[in-house]
Symmetry: C2
Subunit: 226 residues, 2 copies
């Protein structure tokens, strides 16, 4: 069963269009990897993030695919998350109990499984994934234990092992902004707000965390807010 | 993070329409579970199996959904499997090297991830999965080590653990036919052949294994063959 992928320098990245995965993209491009970006449309209210992902890939001249998962949302697989239903997106910090409504059931396992499939079909053995420490409090499928178990599963899903690489798993969003600033990330070209309006709301859990990350670094967030 | 699902007797089953998952369906219905069946259309040549899955669920009066994954196939995520491309489906036993062309990259992780999402949205904690010992030789993502690692990941992907239950993991197809016969499974309503023609070909790896399983039990397969 032991084999090696044909293209060891090639990799897939799960790119939401937010600041974490975009920073990770800049990081691996600096490492001279041949990158294939993958985004997902699962009916999220903030699907605007996909336009940001697309523009980033265009300006960095890398391959980008958006996978349509509306069939899953329509079939009811994602249940009643406030990110995909008519329910109101809650405001405040991630840790609060009411933020649970933003959980999209098993979304990360689904995205990882597809990114791993894509890596195999590209004959490469690496998937980069921007999960970070700030997410843990509320999202079960961002915790290190979940990512570690998915890493073990991906190692045995094919004839050669696929590595799921999550460099930010034990870092917070402030650390990511610090690294991204050094890497020259264009944060005006990243979208974070869950509400997906014309301007970022500045109040949802996602905006709250983003604004704190910039503040922690003494940097002005270049995105326009309401 | 510890919670329990609201409906402990409810479960999801991945139902291909083949004999293994159909037998498993009969088995769990006998155990009086409330069953939600899930099938996948990933552009397989033998998508005829989905019609069989549909008929089985209709006759057993259980919920059934078919998830369309053609967007993944069209995006190239499943690469060049002979099950989804113009490449010829090979004939002979599964163990042979040329059967590797029938591998659909990471298909099982993708299907399991969606079944787990469905279980969470149904507020239940069990996914039944018909992987069996005969598949191991050629399919990496049917081996016990893969299924066991996915089980560990599913246990931590949500606020309550989701169990992936694969009762046939260490049994072969002959054992499954033996159990199914006792359960009264209607094998004329199951489809196995990879070629998906009007009648089963009797020569592909999947047919070869099916025919041997019936022979092992001294039973005539009720399906018409070419």
């Amino acid at each position: 069963m032991k084999e090696s992928p044909k293209y060891p320098n090639r990799c897939v990245i799960i790119l939401s269009g937010g600041m974490d995965s975009t920073t990770l993209l800049y990081k691996i491009l600096q490492e001279k990897k041949e990158v294939y970006a993958l985004s997902f449309n699962y009916g999220q209210k903030h699907k605007k993030e996909l336009e940001y992902a697309k523009k980033t890939c265009q300006s960095l001249k890398i391959s980008h695919k958006i996978i349509e998962l509306n069939s899953l949302t329509n079939a009811g697989l994602f249940g009643q998350s406030s990110l995909t239903s008519s329910e109101t997106v809650p405001e405040g910090h991630y840790a609060a109990e009411n933020m649970k409504s933003t959980v999209v059931p098993n979304r990360n396992m689904i995205m990882l499984s597809m990114a791993v499939a894509y890596a195999i079909s590209l004959d490469c053995g690496a998937v980069f994934y921007g999960a970070h420490a700030g997410d843990h409090a509320i999202y079960p499928d961002c915790r290190p234990i979940f990512v570690e178990r998915m890493q073990l599963a991906a190692e045995v899903c094919h004839y050669f092992p696929v590595q799921i690489i999550a460099p930010y798993l034990h870092q917070n969003k402030g650390d990511i902004v610090a690294e991204g600033t050094k890497l020259g990330v264009n944060y005006a070209q990243t979208w974070t707000c869950y509400k997906g309006g014309e301007k970022a709301c500045g109040k949802c859990g996602s905006c709250t965390e983003r604004l704190e990350a910039f503040k922690q670094n003494g940097i002005q967030d270049p995105l326009p807010y309401e």
